[in-house]
């Protein structure tokens, strides 16, 4: 009797190893198929659905297939939008709810580990607005495009700094104090914040320090 049990166990182990091996082979085949015919598959909705089904039954995440990179699918935009929301929410306390479009693009790329164009980020934001006004794309008077979370007290302060920068070229704590009626501490806080997030560049070779909007020179870079 014991012998039968032992033999039975052996057979079932063998069978499961064989199946596991076959699955690995199959997965390889699917990935090969995908890399070879990815584009065609992508263009034909029914084969796309079929491939996705095969993938799911094998435990391959279809979203990770490289065919997603051939062209931008709705799935890509969904992932992009999630990244945009994550980043703009995660950073809103640091950057006072406002960041340049370029920075956002940079961080989205880091998060998704693939190249994303400004245009695609813009599209993601525009599409998100259908769901309600959470993020707003703004072009400041100097042409710098920023993304702003619609709530956020401080972002309006940042906007005022930008406008002052635009008028004078640079600002300082004193300029903000004199023109906007801010306390020196508040001015310093807003400016420090904008420098630490890379919105403004500091020139510390004058006293008090001057803060410049890099938008002026960004076109030359």
């Amino acid at each position: 009797m014991q012998q039968y049990v032992a033999v039975g166990a052996e057979i079932s182990t063998e069978a499961s190893t064989a199946i596991a091996q076959q699955l690995v082979q199959l997965e390889k085949l699917v990935l090969k198929l995908e890399s070879k015919y990815g584009k065609q598959v992508l263009e034909d909705p029914s084969s796309r659905a079929a491939l996705a089904e095969i993938c799911l039954s094998l435990g391959i995440n279809p979203l990770h297939l490289s065919l997603e990179k051939h062209s931008r699918t709705p799935e890509f935009y969904a992932r992009l939008q999630v990244a945009v929301i994550n980043i703009s929410q995660g950073l809103s306390s640091q950057n006072s709810g406002c960041m340049s479009l370029k920075q956002l693009q940079h961080q989205v790329q880091t998060q998704l580990r693939e190249k994303v164009t400004i245009k695609e980020v813009t599209k993601a934001i525009t599409d998100l607005n259908v769901l309600g006004p959470g993020l707003r794309l703004e072009t400041l008077s100097n042409g710098l495009e920023v993304v702003r979370t619609v709530t956020g007290e401080l972002s309006s302060a940042q906007g005022e700094v930008y406008i002052a920068c635009d008028a004078l070229g640079y600002v300082s704590t004193e300029v903000l104090h004199d023109n906007l009626g801010w306390t020196m501490e508040h001015s310093q806080e807003v400016l420090d914040n904008m420098v630490s997030t890379g919105f403004l560049w500091i020139d510390d070779q004058v006293s008090p320090a001057h803060y410049w909007n890099p938008g002026i020179i960004e076109n030359q870079i």
């Binding site: 920075q103 640079y170 890379g198 500091i202 020139d203 070779q205 410049w212």
Partner: protein
């Protein structure tokens, strides 16, 4: 960029500073090219813009030059604070020399630094006026690639023997 005052202050934001570093390396190379002056210290003229009265401090300037060394486009000279910026990198020159040797049948020739830097060899313009340190580095690159050997005279490197 060079007229933008905060360009001369190291920016606290790391991403911005990395961008700044890259732009400064460009500025340094172009300055060397324009002045035909390839040796400089962290207090060289390039780091000061007199028109706007701004200077990149020694620390930041050292950072720029050190970064250039790390990228293989400059090197720190022994015993002082001077850096040598390569007009053409030793790696590029070595590749150029190999191609030239192949195309002109100099697979086993000996080339002296003098011949190279005086422009005595046709179509090796990039080597004209190259200094001995750069040429020595070219010899070292070729040695590493097993495509050449440094020729020495009284312990000094004076030429390259191509061994293709």
């Amino acid at each position: 960029m060079y007229e933008f005052p905060p360009f001369f202050t190291r920016q606290p934001n790391e991403d911005t500073w990395r961008l700044q570093l890259k732009l400064w390396q460009d500025v340094v190379y172009k300055w060397c090219l324009a002045n035909n002056e390839w040796r400089l210290t962290p207090s060289a003229d390039v780091f000061t813009n007199k028109r706007i009265d701004r200077t990149l401090n020694i620390d930041a300037a050292t950072h720029v030059l050190t970064e250039m060394c790390r990228k293989g486009v400059a090197e720190k000279l022994e015993n002082n604070e001077t850096f040598l910026v390569y007009k053409h990198t030793p790696a590029d020159l070595a590749t150029e020399l190999r191609q030239w040797a192949r195309e002109t049948g100099h697979e086993t020739s000996v080339l002296t630094f003098y011949e190279l830097s005086e422009g005595e060899l046709p179509s090796l313009e990039k080597f004209i006026n190259a200094d001995d340190i750069t040429l020595k580095r070219v010899a070292e690159v070729l040695e590493r690639r097993k495509e050449g050997v440094a020729m020495k005279e009284e312990g000094e490197c004076v030429g390259i023997k191509i061994t293709l």
